[in-house]
Amino acid sequence: MGKVSVRFFARYAELAGCTWSAVNVETPATVADVIARVREVFPGTKGLPPQPLAALNQRQVRLDALVNEGDEVALLPPLAGG
């Protein structure tokens, strides 16, 4: 098992009830595995879309990207910059 940091922003932070946490997953895992664990730990995140945008260590990635212990996964609501 490895610990992965998880960050929530904007509406997703409201759903999760926090902006930062950490979850334990079997590593190496995928971003999708981390999100599945997040849905178990934070009931409010069941309101997340099936395939939310995600970033791994500050870069947008696909949900099949590999995650290792100590990595940071961020769940990103639809982007609205500008």
Binding site: R7, F9, R11, R59, P77, P78, L79, A80, G81, G82
Partner: protein, 141 residues
């Protein structure tokens, strides 16, 4: 210049960063908060570390594509009133075509890639997250 700021954007600061005697064309884009449907302001938030890194990557790509151009952008965060700028981009190049193209490239990349979110504040006290895909999530005052 800081790419992210919580203070009003002054376009003159951006111009000073990009203009020079060898660059004869300068293009400036500003995005300002609209008064749609009783909106009084928009609260911008960001994944700041990633937003900074992403802006650096976008500007680097613009620099590679238009090597003779200089491009800068500043995005404001926090609550911004109607009529005030949330973003400004300045691109200067030897000729106007490259200045327009670089400026356009940067704003389109920002729209697609910058981890920034906005919450509309309305006159009646309600707020809602803005989802560019069209969904609106409204909250009470």
């Amino acid at each position: 210049m800081m790419h992210l700021t919580r203070h009003p954007i002054d376009v003159r600061d951006l111009l000073a960063e990009v203009q020079g005697p060898e660059r004869g064309g300068t293009c400036v884009f500003t995005g300002t908060v609209r008064n749609d449907a009783d909106v009084t302001g928009i609260e911008y938030s960001a994944y700041e570390a990633m937003a900074f890194a992403e802006i650096e990557r976008i500007l680097g790509e613009a620099q590679s594509q238009w090597p003779e151009a200089r491009v800068i952008l500043q995005h404001r965060l926090g609550l911004i009133s109607v009529g005030e700028a949330s973003i400004a981009i300045a691109a200067a190049a030897p000729h106007r075509d490259d200045a327009f193209a670089a400026c356009r490239f940067v704003i389109e990349a920002v729209k697609k890639r910058l981890p920034v979110w906005k919450k509309e504040h309305r006159a009646d006290g309600t707020t809602s997250w803005v989802d560019p895909s069209g969904k609106v999530v409204t909250h009470g005052p």
